[in-house]
């Protein structure tokens, strides 16, 4: 065994019926380093990590895993955790109704004479929280913590298991900027303590900031590896390796054809349904024109989603006041049904939780928001349904074997195209896209961007909500910034830059 590597995965091949998910992948991770893995969605990153952590037991794949120089045979997650390999999933796996202590020692309770020693557990929890820089009471109930803090508790839990290799699957995807920074900082701290981190990430700037080495995976194969020197990586090179083609520009070229004002909102005020007196939106006013892409920039919790969902049929919070005009005519919309009738469509940020019924097929999903359109004599017409779904499959370039397959079989990018199709099928004039490219790989993002441009060219008014400032700068024609429920600025995208926007997104005045 070569020196210096804490972990070596050699010639890993994993096949599912009909698909080769991994073929001959080799991954070597140096001790006490931060090793980034990147690749498109569906490239095989998660599968590789599942092989490593024993989710796919030894024998269900080909190849070998060496950990600290010894060959490992993991039959389940318990085995890999015992060895010191802990994975933290993208979706957090804690029990919201239980306390921090209970969650950290879940399945690992400190037991004396058959009873849990709470005093000891709390003491250890306090120490662990200290290590991850979280200053909270160990009795705090998990659901009362923010996502960023929950993630830190997950890491504390991993530390309680004497972790040697910590795997983080897209750790910052649901965190805001400051929480992300905090987490990356913590990773550097862990590295100093001799803990190796493997980080799966799409975010190249984060990879550059903390990692020592990047492995790129594409189509189930290791494509390339790069050492990161002095916080710099060649982003274009990595992107090229990920997608297998050079992306000259991450955002397609587009000349907007802007027409009349379609949507005009003024004085929109919404109160939080859970916290009386807290306003989610304060006196918001903005407008969107036909063919225009209007970006909304704001940090997490600024009230972007709340504003959009409130516009979409008062779907969130308690409506306190405000006017909405569509095509110059004032409308009152009190339900999602009415919003759809008024030609508004809303693509939610949480694709799996709010955008899709994962039990449904592609064809049923595409028509689901406008069933009246496929009716013949009062009954749903399957021929019309099939024709409609085939049309959108082609138009949106959805990659699937057949429109009759379940949406759960699709990759994130293709799922998002199905959601977009579903809303296009309602023939909207106003299309609200809430984080439309979240969790989607670079190649698919480009396709979604092109589709958004095509829709704008058809004269739709498009609202683009995004956490990624480069995306807003690259896609929008005009950008509003939101901070604490207030619209704090309006800038033409051509004149904007990231620093400017960030400033308006964080002013406290």
């Amino acid at each position: 065994m070569s020196e210096g590597y804490i972990l070596q995965m050699k010639n890993i091949t994993k096949t599912f019926p009909g698909v080769k998910a991994l073929s001959d992948v080799t991954l070597e991770v140096a001790e006490a380093s931060i090793h980034a893995i990147c690749g498109e969605n569906g490239a095989g990153k998660s599968t590789l990590m599942k092989v490593l952590s024993g989710v796919y037991p030894y024998g269900s794949y080909d190849g070998e895993i060496f950990f600290q120089g010894k060959k490992m045979i993991f039959k389940n997650i318990k085995d890999s955790e015992r060895a010191g390999i802990v994975i933290i999933h993208q979706e957090l796996t804690m029990i919201p109704e239980l306390s921090v202590t209970e969650n950290i020692f879940m399945g690992n309770e400190i037991v004396e004479k058959g009873l849990i020693n709470w005093g000891e557990e709390r003491k250890r929890t306090r120490e662990l929280l200290e290590k991850v820089g979280l200053h909270i009471n160990p009795n705090t109930i998990i659901k009362n913590l923010g996502v960023g803090q929950q993630q830190l508790v997950e890491i504390a839990k991993a530390l309680s298991k004497n972790v040697k290799v910590l795997i983080l699957d897209e750790p910052t995807s649901s965190l805001n900027e400051s929480d992300s920074e905090n987490l990356l900082h913590l990773m550097l701290g862990l590295k100093k303590q001799g803990i190796t981190c493997i980080m799966i990430s799409h975010k190249l700037n984060e990879i550059a900031a903390v990692s020592d080495y990047v492995t790129v995976i594409r189509d189930g194969q290791t494509v390339d590896g790069y050492a990161v020197e002095a916080g710099r990586v060649d982003e274009n090179k990595i992107i090229k390796a990920m997608v297998g083609r050079e992306i000259g520009n991450r955002y397609p070229e587009h000349t907007p054809k802007i027409g009349e004002v379609i949507l005009e909102v003024s004085g929109w005020t919404v109160e939080d349904a859970k916290v009386p007196g807290k306003m989610l939106c304060k006196d918001s006013a903005f407008y969107v024109r036909a063919g225009e892409i209007v970006g909304f920039a704001g940090l997490m919790g600024a009230g972007r989603t709340e504003l959009m969902r409130s516009l979409f049929g008062k779907n969130m919070g308690i409506f306190k006041g405000g006017k909405m005009k569509i095509g110059g005519r004032e409308v009152r919309i009190n339900s999602v049904q009415e919003a759809i009738k008024n030609k508004i469509a809303y693509v939610p940020e949480d694709r799996k939780g709010l955008g899709l019924n994962l039990l449904d097929t592609i064809r049923k999903t595409i028509v689901s928001a406008n069933l009246d359109k496929i009716k013949t004599k009062g009954l749903l017409d399957f021929d019309k349904e099939r024709a409609a779904s085939e049309k959108y499959k082609d138009f949106m370039r959805i990659k699937c074997r057949d429109v009759g397959v379940g949406v759960n079989t699709l990759s994130g990018g293709n799922q998002q195209k199905v959601v977009l199709s579903k809303w296009m099928f309602t023939e909207p004039d106003i299309l609200i896209l809430d984080e439309p490219t979240r969790g989607i790989d670079v190649g698919a993002k480009y396709e979604i961007y092109k589709l958004i441009h095509e829709l704008a060219d058809k004269g739709k008014a498009i609202i683009l909500v995004s956490s990624e400032l480069p995306e807003l700068l690259g896609m929008a024609d005009r950008i509003y910034t939101i901070f604490e429920g207030k619209i704090t600025g309006e800038i033409a995208a051509k004149e904007a830059n990231q620093e400017m926007l960030m400033k308006k997104m964080t002013i406290t005045a």
Partner: protein
Amino acid sequence: MKYIKKVLGEDLRQYTMVVALAALIIIFNIASGGKMVTSSNFQNLISGNAYVLVLALGMLMVIVIGQIDLSVGSVAGFASMVMAITARQFNLPWYVAILIALVIGMIAGAWQGFFLSRLGIPGFITTLGGMMIFRGGVIWISNSISVPVPSELKWFGAGYLPEWGPAFTGMNNSTLLLGIIAIAVYVIAQIRKYTHSGDITGKKEAFWPFAVRIGIVAVVIGYATWLFGSGRPGTSFPIPGLILVILIILYYLITERTPFGRHVYAVGGNKSAAELSGVSVKRTYFLTMLNMSVLAAVAGILFVGRSTAAGPADGTSWEMDAIASVFIGGAAVSGGVGTVIATMVGGLVMAVLNNGLMLMGVGADKTQVIKGFVLLAAVAFDVYNKKNRR
């Protein structure tokens, strides 16, 4: 195997319960010395179990929206008891009596739908309350005494189709006509499907799988027609069976071919996504619960028609048979999954078990035990299958 898939479609697992049902019938027929597959036994099987299958139709939709209804037996008993008492007291004609039962079902359903949809109280609790309220109500208003129902109702519970026309057919001509209609409808549907098969994809499918399908269905329906139609004179395919068939067609259309049906599956699959797609979750909850109780009233009518009187214990634990039918039919406890046809097959499995074990002289105690095991086995098999698919 490839050829079987061509005929039956890609998803062969949906036929496992059909195969199990056929196997049960054959096994019981052999074990009981040929007493199972006879005209009179099949007629009995259908008219004696139609009410459970009617309940299962409604229960399917309740389970698909992710709820459960424990009150159906009590509602069925209550609706038929109110019907019996008012009809006797005021000497009402049979059709008014039926109307009363249906209205009672509707009110009971609206009551429970209100608690679920407006107040957000889970169906389990709402209907647990309903189960006690309506059961207590039945015993209360009847003073624990059976009340006879108008004699015309017997036709609904145990009646047969009329006999007419020539005698040379050797069987009940109404049944024969039904059988012929059923086969004809199937043949027309298959031929239409064949002629339209290439409309969108541009590739016309081969004709032989359609022909094989038609052949199989024609033989099965033909045999059933002969079986039901050739019993002793005066018997035929039973009326409750006919009502059931009409309801099956109706609910098949509702669940598969109407926006409301789609909404039911959408709410069960992902409530939040359904809400954001413009589905009124509250309305879907309400109507599904309302519908369930109306069907419970229908089941009550069928049952008391057969037993000629409404009893204070009528409907006790019917909900369990209905729920079992739905789950044997492959529905998911978490909602969103389940079909009318599979539920009916599940219900028939339960019915055949009851009937076959009775023919073999197995007591009610052991029958109960066996049914419990079958339910577990069926669901375990289903879960195992779903796991292996991944």
